[in-house]
Amino acid sequence: MARIIAGVASSHVPAIGAAIDNKQTGEPYWQRVFSGFEKSKQWMAETKPDVAIVVYNDHASAFSVEFVPTFALGCAAEFPPADEGWGPRPVPVVKGHPELAAHIAQSVILDEFDLTIVNKMEVDHGLTVPMNLLFGSPQEWPCPVIPLAVNVVLYPPPTGHRCYMLGRAIRKAVESFPEDLKVVIFGTGGMSHQISGPRAGLINSKFDKAYLDNLTKDPKKLARMEHLEYMREAGAEGIEMVMWLVMRGALDDKVDEVYRFYTVPASNTAVGHIILENRKGAAKGKRKSKSAPKIKRAAARLTHRDVRRGK
């Protein structure tokens, strides 16, 4: 049986990728950022996942405004790095895991999450920067990757609650895959930042720290947070953090926070990073039987609210 053993959240600031590609990581400005990921790389090297699921967003690279899928799952055998206007990043081609990806698609769609299946896709810094931060800059990425692209560019993105529940459905899918695989799931983007309009440059460290705390301890509280609050408190583009909730939803209710890092700024953005591990030997069957009624209750709540709104 495949299983998700840990979750990683990390910012995916494009300037971090540029600093790596231009060999500026040793400069004091960048050293402050990269030093925060040394332990993470060590953790990843020891954890040796068989597959990584990377929840990220595309930045007008693979998807323009011609079509905008809310959730797009990469089922291809490989995903080349996109040319984002500066030439493709000099990183290895990302190898997929088409069998597990197809299995996840089939399972979560029947669980009522209407994913778009993508069989040809280039991936941009949103995916490759967190990979560099956790895997370094190897000749080949050490494990296959399943990209899950979430629309957070065109408002409205999926709600935090929807993302969290999708995480749960992904976990269920992974656990029903027959091959014995260790899976790590990434949530990327954030933390607080605004890069558009006269309010650009907004950073809210207090919000970010509380978000990191709750990601470990009380993710359901975060799942209830409305988009308006993200945009007001964490900047228009800070809404990317809903993607972290897909990752969190795929983990146990109780997790161990094994590492955390936070710094301001990288370019326009607050950099946040956390590693959460499922507790070893946590009863899997118990959690499963608990989660089903919760999905039902959540659906019921939504229905009531919609009724009140006269929908």
């Binding site: 600031v13 494009p14 300037a15 971090i16 990728g17 540029a18 600093a19 930045h59 007008a60 323009s64 405004v65 011609e66 905008v68 040319d83 984002e84 206007g85 500066w86 560019v153 065109l154 408002y155 409205p156 607080s192 605004q194 890069i195 558009s196 309009g197 006269p198 309010r199 650009a200 440059g201 907004l202 950073i203 809210n204 460290s205 207090k206 919000f207 988009h227 308006l228 945009m231 007001r232 408190e233 228009a236 583009e237 301001v264 700024p265 990288a266 370019s267 326009n268 607050a270």
Partner: protein, 169 residues
């Protein structure tokens, strides 16, 4: 038809790229996407006004592109990840564009970011009807750097365009 009002229109200095703006700004964003290709960047630079004729743009959208009015482009339906490609064509990084949109000089903007960024205090709401969450209300250090609501003037644009840099991020 006037634009429908939304709760997020109350956030100062922010143009949320919603479905309505996406519809309105389709031409802007598709123009920006075309700049992903080197031959298109060259063709655009060779004759900007002529190149723009290939896209469904209103006269005010075309003018905003020619004048590099980045805030106006957001207001007219452009999205930052797309308009950043126009900036990149001029050799400007994301941070450069962000500074331009705030109306600050590049140096002042860089200093603000190194100092922890723009504070959220004083920048949550235009109407003031939104109160910060009780816990964060005690943030006393806050020296509000309120955003300027006026659009960036084309003068500063001309200056910033002249010193093209080839940096990302």
């Amino acid at each position: 038809m006037p634009r429908a009002q939304h709760d997020y229109d109350d956030i100062p200095g922010t143009f949320v790229f919603d479905a309505e703006r996406s519809r309105q700004g389709y031409g802007i964003n598709m123009f920006c996407m075309s700049l992903m290709k080197e031959e298109n960047r060259k063709a655009f630079k060779a004759n900007e006004a002529e190149y723009l004729k290939k896209f469904p743009l209103t006269p005010e959208q075309a003018t905003a592109i020619l004048n590099r009015e980045y805030n106006r482009l957001l207001e007219l339906g452009g999205n930052i990840y797309f308009t950043a490609k126009l900036g990149a064509t001029d050799g400007h990084s994301f941070r450069h564009l962000a500074a331009t949109m705030t109306g600050a000089s590049q140096d002042d903007y860089a200093k603000m970011m190194l100092g922890g960024g723009r504070s959220v205090e004083g920048n949550r709401s235009k109407s003031g009807r939104d109160k910060p969450a009780p816990k964060s209300a005690k943030a006393k250090s806050a020296k509000p750097k309120a955003v300027k609501s006026k659009a960036v003037k084309s003068k500063s644009r001309a200056k910033s365009r002249s010193k093209a840099r080839s940096k990302r991020g």
